[in-house]
């Protein structure tokens, strides 16, 4: 295991550029003193934004509105298809429209606590602060949020909070927010301020004199590499969940842009913090291509349970009985039992681990033993099927289409008590809290390179609360980056528009081309997907919900072997002329392999359990995560060492909390 040894040299000081003053005043202070670019100079400056999800689209639109020239890239056929569109549940904001005691401070506090005290205080406070602007912004765009009969906005509650602060548009909130951002983006495209490149994939970042000055992107239709120059580069390319092959991410979601940034010297922060969402449809056969999420909002009215009696569980696994055959008194509502104060609304990491704990003990409820029930009987008996269907009808239908079971259907009556078909759910990889390290200005450790949205690491600590991803994506894109990037660009106004005819661009294109040529030339026997599936299995089995020193060392060894297999036995059909989807996938897989290793290195280093990272050696007697604030109260920043096969170097950014007292997370009382 010698080669897996992590380097921890003398620590360079990490400057996160957190402004002075009390946490509640930092953002105001920053805005009051930051440098701005005047309107006439903005049009002299070009900005590349890679990605068109909530963060990318909102940033590109807003930067265009301000007067910058924006070049915006997406891998899909239209900016509207980025995976933010699939977010179902909602978006948080501290509006306190429900008069239930919410405030900016409370949203800030809940987010820091939900993140298990591993997020940066100043960033999270700013996020809570701008959350209200986001709702105003989206309503003004014509986003059709749910409303009450009085005409005002409706809210619902979500995991990890004791207030109702989540705004929603049916079960399609992500779609509506993204289409809102897309509409603003379209307006800028129409006005000529944003140039949109669809079916393009960024393959590398071009550095000139130590600054990010452009990208090499592949036109996925023609197969040609193209060059683009700008004064600054923003990546908004989402998370790395597909490292696990099966996840709730879309098929094209990948971490190649983030890996390109990492290889250019941007630190990768907290890769071990991967969110496993508790309410996904369980896996079926080995042909499966992705996992489907059922919105967390279902936990508002759904109750999660497994049988109390192991014999019942065995019968369920054998298919001899159904969930609705088991009466109330024989059900173990284990979240309500273990966490009376939050019950079914505990944060995602807690709910996921609790499901795993029951299933590991043999109480799983389907043929694989890897599923628990989410039951609406109590809600339907209390509210009536119409109300429940109004809230979750589209989710019930979606569930039925996939599984052939309708959760709203009356299935049994025992002693006068009506029982409806429960859903079956199981945790799945969903979101990645880790990401490219950024300072308070959302700038990476590479000058002129910014990272926003899920792609960066900054706001969710070790675990993200539900309905906070949409909030962060839009906060970064609408309200934070458009300000902070000006602080960087203010001294760039004398730098003229770039040509791509420079040795740096030549060099970068040559590098990418050599990489693609190499992938084509291996001509082995294995398809991209078969290797990716193998990587996914390694990740899920050894770097999944419960990790140990031994499992992580095994993972590192296995990934090393898999890289060798990839480098020597990959087969990519066709050629580089025109579209080649297998080549595109191979390009991404090379980065998933490096990403997988990075997750394992970080998980191995972090000898504590916190949020989405659970080290089995570090738990309380009750099986709860045990943090080690004395030794691990820091952000792990990983620095690339010039070669994918070399272990990265760990640099620590210590966390400083001024406003919040760090304590053990408690959702019991």
């Amino acid at each position: 295991m010698e080669e897996n040894k992590i380097n921890t040299p003398a620590q360079p000081v990490i400057d996160s550029k957190i402004p002075e003053g009390p946490v509640a005043e930092k953002w105001t202070n920053y805005k009051a003193h930051q440098k701005l670019v005047n309107p006439a100079n903005k049009r002299r400056l070009d900005i590349i934004v890679v990605g068109t999800g909530l963060a990318g689209a909102s940033a590109a639109a807003t930067l265009g509105e301000m007067g910058f020239n924006v070049l915006n890239f997406c891998i899909q056929d239209s900016p509207r298809r980025a995976h933010s569109i699939a977010a179902q549940g909602g978006i948080n904001a501290a509006k306190n429209y429900q008069n239930d005691g919410d405030s900016v401070y409370r949203l800030f506090y809940d987010t820091v606590k939900g993140g298990d005290y591993r997020a940066r205080e100043a960033n999270v406070y700013r996020l809570a602060e701008v959350s209200n602007n986001i709702i105003d912004q989206c309503v003004a765009q014509g986003v059709p949020f749910a409303r009450e009969y009085g005409g005002l906005l409706a809210n619902r509650s979500f995991g990890g909070a004791q207030v109702s602060r989540t705004f929603y548009a049916k079960g399609q909130t992500g779609q509506q927010l993204l289409l809102g951002a897309y509409s603003s983006l379209n307006r800028q495209i129409q006005m000529g301020k944003v140039k949109s490149y669809n079916r393009y994939e960024m393959h590398d970042i071009v550095m000139i004199d130590g600054r990010a000055r452009g990208i090499i992107a592949k036109n996925l239709v023609t197969g040609k590499l193209e060059r683009f120059a700008a004064h600054a580069v923003v990546i908004a390319t989402g998370g790395y969940g597909n490292t696990y092959f099966l996840s709730t991410n879309a098929m094209a979601c990948n971490c190649s842009a983030a890996m390109a940034a990492y290889r250019q010297g941007a630190y990768f922060a907290n890769p071990a913090y991967v969110q496993i969402h508790p309410t996904c449809i369980p896996r079926h056969g080995d042909k499966q291509s992705k996992l489907t999420l059922m919105s967390e909002s279902l936990r508002n009215d759904g109750r999660i349970w497994v049988p109390k009696d192991i014999e019942d569980a065995k019968k369920l696994q054998a298919g001899e009985i159904k969930g609705s055959d088991i009466p109330e008194e024989n059900r173990d509502y284990y979240l309500e039992r273990r966490y009376p104060a939050f019950g079914n609304l505990v944060p995602r990491d807690v709910a996921s681990r609790a499901a795993k704990e029951r299933c590991d003990k043999g109480y799983g409820v389907n043929n694989t033993g890897q599923a628990v029930f989410l039951d609406f009987s109590e809600a339907i008996n209390r509210l009536g099927i119409d109300v429940v269907r109004q809230r979750y009808g589209n989710l019930f239908d979606m569930y039925e289409e996939i599984t052939d079971v309708n959760p709203g259907e009356l299935a049994n009556e025992i002693n006068g008590e009506k029982y409806y078909n429960p859903m079956m759910i199981y945790p799945a990889i969903h979101y990645t809290m880790g990401g490219i390290w950024v300072d308070y200005e959302l700038q990476t450790s590479v000058k002129g390179l910014f990272a926003i949205g899920e792609c960066n690491f900054s706001d969710h600590g070790a675990n993200r609360l539900g309905a906070s991803a949409l909030m962060q994506g839009l906060a970064d894109g609408y309200f934070v980056l458009p300000y902070t990037i000006q602080n960087y660009l203010s001294d760039q106004i004398t730098v003229p528009h770039f040509t791509t005819d420079t040795p740096e661009f030549d060099e970068a294109e040559k590098r990418v081309q050599a990489n693609l040529d190499h992938l084509m030339s291996i001509k082995g026997n294995r398809s991209v997907d078969s290797i990716h599936k193998e990587l996914g299995n390694i990740m899920w089995d050894y770097v999944g919900m419960g990790r140990t020193k031994q499992s992580l060392e095994t993972a590192l060894e296995k990934i090393k072997e898999l890289r060798k297999e990839f480098e020597t036995n990959l087969f990519v059909p066709g050629d580089q002329d025109g579209m080649n989807i297998e080549l595109d996938k191979a390009f991404r897989l090379r980065d998933f392999i490096t990403m997988g290793e990075l997750i394992a290195y970080d998980a191995l280093n972090r000898e504590e359990s916190c949020g989405g990272h659970f080290r089995e050696e570090h738990q309380t007697e009750e099986g709860e995560a045990k943090r080690d604030d004395e030794n691990f109260f820091y952000v792990s920043c990983w620095k690339y060492n010039g070669d994918d096969e070399k272990a990265p170097t760990l640099i620590k950014e210590p966390l400083h909390y001024e406003a919040i007292k760090v304590q053990t997370r408690n959702y019991k009382n």
Binding site: A61, T62, E65, Q76, D77, S78, R80, R81, A82, H83, I85, A86, D136, Q137, V139, A140, Q141, G142, P144, A146, R147, Y149, G151, L152, L153, A169, K170, Q172, G174, Q175, Q176, L179, S183, N186, R187, V221, A250, A252, H284, G285, K287, Q288, S289, K290, D397, M398, E401, I402, D404, Y478, F479, S527, D529, S530, F571, P573, G578, M579, I581, E582
Partner: protein, 251 residues
């Protein structure tokens, strides 16, 4: 996994926009009925790659029915035989053992084929760019609750806004019209106070762009709404017509 079927897939293959295309038939054995249709194509592609052949190009991404990326004309229906669902939400239990399934790309003058089953739907973006927005810049919004909006209007706007921009309506229409797509966006804004201010300009601009891009006209056959995976209602087209006539009358 109890049930598995054998099927034949008759698939449109076309090397590029200008190349001549044609159907190729592939046989697949033992496909579990709880496999999705796109996963079945994945299985076929995996087999093609193993044989050293080029896989079939088709658009897909989220695989949960919301991104609008997947298309496919399956057995004569956009998004296949299921109603109110996209191709990615189609499962093999809809087909029977021994069935031959015909798979084509969207066929419309405005959606040229890129490769195999993949088409270029950029025209939809262009229609949206022509006016599918509220002209308003970040930061200038008033409080979100300042304008009450009736729940009925908000819900109806939400139904219209559910359009995923997949293009099934165009593929289903004998005229290749994009009226349902355009009307969904126009309706969403027509129903909300935020959209009313520039409603007249919007409807004229979006329709003009639709005509310019080679989409056909509407003859009210309703195939679009019948095949729409998101059940966008035909009444949106009626609203679009009303908005358009109103806008023209006030010119």
């Amino acid at each position: 996994m109890d049930n598995a079927i054998n099927i034949k897939l008759r698939i449109w293959r076309q090397a590029g926009p200008k190349e001549k295309g044609g159907f190729v038939t592939y046989e697949l054995q033992d496909i579990p009925t709880d496999t999705s249709f796109l996963e079945t194509l994945d299985i076929l592609n995996e087999q093609l790659v193993e044989k050293g052949e080029e896989p079939i190009a088709f658009d897909h991404d989220c695989r949960e029915g919301i991104c609008g990326m997947c298309s496919l004309y399956i057995n004569g229906h956009p998004h296949g035989p299921a109603t109110g669902a996209t191709t990615c939400q189609l499962y093999m239990r809809r087909f029977h053992d021994g069935e031959t399934i015909t798979v084509e790309p969207w066929r419309s003058a405005a959606f040229p084929v890129i490769k195999d089953l993949m088409v270029d739907r950029n025209a939809f973006d262009k229609i949206q760019q022509a006016g599918g927005y509220v002209s308003f810049a970040t930061g200038g919004a008033q409080d979100a609750n300042a304008i009450p909006i009736s729940k009925v209007a908000a819900d109806e706007a939400m139904d219209s806004a559910s359009c995923i921009g997949c293009g099934a309506c165009v593929a289903a229409c004998k005229n290749g019209s994009a009226m349902l797509f355009v009307s969904a966006k126009v309706s969403q804004f027509a129903l909300l106070p935020q959209g009313k201010v520039e409603a007249k300009r919007r409807v004229k601009a979006m329709l003009a762009k639709m005509d310019e891009l080679g989409f056909g006209n509407c003859t009210n056959t309703g195939a679009c709404a019948a095949e729409c995976p998101k059940n966008i209602k035909l009444s949106n087209i009626a609203r679009l017509n009303r908005e358009f006539i109103g806008a023209k009358c006030s010119d």
